[in-house]
Symmetry: D2
Subunit: 348 residues, 4 copies
């Protein structure tokens, strides 16, 4: 029997009852069960594509309005159009575009939130993580795991722009966030550039290093040069019908995702290749690093080209077509869902 079929007396009786128990901080499950336990995901997030041409213009204007120092981090948050005011691009992830101008420093701090950077534009900046700097080059995937000190600086003569991806909504949802500022504006380098990659990223590990399964990687940079070479190296065979040539970034000390809250992927689609529709429960942010093409998300379609950013919410079918050889970077909360036994994918 649906509630609307109840006699008016019964309805009134229930309403009275709901009010009485409401004052004691109780509420009836049966009025909301369908919404709480839906038959399949109905994400409140919307698909969207941000053109880099516009993003760049706006973020450069931010550079004229506020300094990196004043802003602490001069970032434009990409807010999901259906989740305005929540500082998120999907329910669980944050994305933003960060600008650092020649001579500027984004001062050292650390926080529970894990961050990734994907370098989009300009040369001469560095990112420093726990005492080691790495030069930021287009396409480089750089991470600052939870509670690592980090700062950024621009030693060159061009504006440098990158995409930030953070798990801010996850940490907020779990009420587990801590943060502190460093007394050092920039961290003093403790090790030369390249040390972490040599030590942890050459299919070898230090003798006594025994990471726990959820430890993030000490490899904090995945240079695009290597990623591109790997994508080309696996391209002799047939592309996967749903994913083309796609690899996931890993912590080479565990095989898990680089950071426990965020998975990241690199994907190559040969010119003319079109993927079959696939949907999965991890809402995903994509960035085009090379090439151009078309993306369909549910019933929306966009052209994409270099540095455009688009978001595919949970359980929305995704199809990609490359018009020129394309390389895409993407990230999502997939490792969280997999750790919790929740992740599903449907290849159509």
């Amino acid at each position: 029997m649906h509630a609307e079929d109840l006699p008016p007396d019964a309805l009134r009786q229930r309403a009275d009852y709901y009010q009485r128990i409401g004052s004691r901080h109780m509420t009836p499950l049966w009025e909301v069960l369908g919404a709480l336990v839906p038959p399949h995901p109905r994400s409140p997030a919307a698909p969207h594509l941000w053109r880099y041409a516009e993003l760049r213009e706006q973020v450069l204007e931010a550079g004229r309005l506020i300094s990196a120092e004043e802003a602490e981090r001069r970032v434009l948050i990409l807010e999901n159009p259906a989740l305005r005011g929540q500082s998120c691009i999907t329910q669980s992830l944050y994305a933003g575009l960060q600008l650092i101008l020649p001579g500027e420093v984004a001062p050292a701090h650390r926080h529970t939130q894990s961050a990734l950077r994907l370098v989009l534009d300009g040369e001469g900046a560095y990112s420093a993580v726990d005492g080691e700097r790495t030069t930021m080059r287009r396409g480089d995937f750089i991470i600052t795991p939870s509670w690592t000190w980090h700062d950024h600086g621009n030693l060159g003569d061009q504006p440098v722009v990158w995409l930030d991806g953070l798990d801010i909504p996850i940490v907020r949802f779990l009420d587990a966030g801590f943060a502190e500022r460093s007394e050092q504006r920039s961290q003093a380098p403790l090790r030369p550039e390249g040390d972490a990659l040599a030590r942890y990223g050459a299919n070898m590990l230090p003798l006594d290093y025994q990471p726990r399964p959820m430890d993030p990687t000490r490899v904090f940079v995945y240079p695009f040069e290597r990623t591109k070479a790997a994508l080309v190296g696996i391209s002799s065979g047939t592309p996967d019908a749903h994913h083309g040539f796609k690899l996931r970034y890993v912590n080479p000390a565990t095989g898990a995702s680089p950071m426990p809250t965020t998975g990241a992927f690199a994907q190559r689609l040969p010119a003319g290749f079109e993927t079959k529709p696939v949907r999965c429960t991890d809402g995903t942010v994509h960035v085009c690093l090379e090439g151009e093409g078309e993306v369909r998300v549910g019933d929306r379609t966009w052209r994409f080209q270099e540095s455009d950013v688009f978001v595919v919410p949970s359980w929305h079918a995704l199809q990609l077509r490359a018009d020129r050889d394309a390389v895409l970077f993407s990230f999502s909360d997939r490792p969280v869902q997999q750790a919790l036994g929740l992740w599903r994918e449907e290849r159509q």
Copy 2:
């Protein structure tokens, strides 16, 4: 420089800019950074205690207003007083009180959400999980892992009440929920009662059973009789200053929590014992199974007695005192936080 110290022109310029980028689904991080990345957790949830005497009265009234069949699950959700309308007791967890009357059936369904039951009141009901029934006795901790078929029934002559704990907010946050109803109202038993406990819960396992790390336990009932015996069995030594005698329920095939999203604990406090303050990042729901005493959460204090339920939000200091020998059950999202490297505890 604080924004309020800016000259009016600059303020206006920024406001214009914010509006312009807002229309393109961007927003400035620097206006919200402090809130997004707080120095320590500031949970929006509030501490609260629900007296079982009142809960019981209300849930029995629900029994007169609606049938189990109509309700599908006749449950009063315990809503956190500071999070009304969100169907949650902490940001990540749901709790409710379920009633099943003699002769009733809560029909078979399954969903991505994981559930736990803690039996509080009455005899004669059973819970069935994937084809095996277990008789529900006070204090029994029963689980229905993600995507397992389950139904409940009352073969006795008393109302039976239990506490439900689910990860509904987690699955909602991750947009990963699926559900379906069974064509069977009650599952036909495939195995006799006790089979799972014999097969998976006697410090032995089937020859060929190789669970993955995040698989939930096949032991779907932890009888209170055994839990009590274990708590008494470890009580010869000195109680831990912050926790008394406390054990965590585990999946004995992996050592992990029984279900990947929810940790559960049993705790014994001898009469007269008072714990030192401790705070942790996992907001926790407690139920008193035996004894009585006092609980302090932050600056709030309550007396607690049998079957009372109270919630301690993240990073709120908790202190417990037993006036009579007390046994407490509790649950939280600790395994999620630990899997993500986020969990912290501070023993004061």
Copy 3:
């Protein structure tokens, strides 16, 4: 070309060469390749059955010839008939029968080697492991993990006999053995009997206990009473054609074998049930705890009855038939082979 077909000159030339390189500690692989890399296992061990009636008589005679104190451990090693002089029952495992007489003590020591005990005969003895005693009852499976202090004593008035199983050959093969004697003849009890089982063996674990994957269990006794109840509890269905009703003992904090070098199993065969032939690469020692029947190993056949011990070498087909309801205990190096990716089983 086979070596025997070579012309005499070539043979002589090779022989000379072999001698020359032999003096430099080199030898030709091609003369031994077939033996080093056989097409399938050809164990040098032989199947054998020791009747308990004889074992008991001999071990009691040992009790008259030497004291437990003088012997340190008064044990008759069961030597594989095809591996005499090597103190082993398979190439990798040691088994022996230990006797402790009323009033005697087997003094405290510890060693790298892991040991298991299966109690066969008599009452009143205890085994102490790292400060906790357990009373030894027929069928109890008791372990002393690597490097744990242990001693045994007999407080009763009967001779007590048990089977010891150790990984002595494994530790010897790996050159990794350490040992030391305690200054205490018997360990002073640090915890009451039953503490470990309550703390680690009730499908719960201490709050802060985080074992590594290869850590042995802290549950050092698996009482036969529980094992029997579990075997009966799973017997409602159809027995496995090759194994009957069979469970493996596990470390309930990890799901792995109780100790990393040794797997142990309990098995129930209903009266009249006969298993189909099965062979596996782990040579296995069996003990009959209840019932009687017939065992076939390759082309050998024996009757077995209570407390008889028999060994099945690697890759020998095993068939069991119970004439009365039978319970068998068994142990092998299976976890070693599984950890190394070497274990195979063939169900025929």
Copy 4:
């Protein structure tokens, strides 16, 4: 009381008894306990160094005596001087020098035993593993995990020599060896050279690849060029007093050793650097890839130079001194000992 202090009658009585029980395949533990459970490892293996100059001369002579085809594998086994006739360099490991002449093929087979190759001399050969070839270059570390098809060939015009390391004694000890020959003499390439390294060795992994903890790596070649770069890359700091700059090769999909039975290491010692003595329970085979110096093992001392091979038995103190910048490769059964909780190291 020592046996030698017993009265003659008692001695005789015991001897009679030992003979009687011996005929029933029993033997007294107390006569051998000290040997079975030693206070610390007393390896029967001896330290030894083989000069490459001699090895090369002998293996080239083997090339004149027998073809690769006839030999199946033309290898000179390096036999530990104290373990002659056992085809092993330590109790658990096999090492040999393999030669393949221009135009020859070592035909395709597979076996349970895992193998590693360290290329020492010559150019133009390849090793093929499960359908992918890799060109063998000096210093390359190449593996053929358990049960992978493999063959080798020499397409160049020089003799090519490498060191083989296998776990033959481990598999023999566990009675777990299987082998078969392929019908193909050489495997047909299924993938282009470099595919595995791109797919599994670039700090990325295929989307759906989920290895189990003991799975060997799909990266079957660790090019020396990368190893050398990593060793140089970590050399900015202070060398470890006992190990210099030392890394362990890993499976970048798990962080474990490349193969479950064998650990492998690369080590750089700057000119003039001398390590402090260290001993460990894993007997280890070393090869000098660059430089020269002196090695002390227990009370033995040797000069070493390029391609010399030396073995350090369990629990023998090792000291190394580089007279020129040295790079050493080494391998041992360390992952076996670690998986079993047996490995110990003592830094002096």
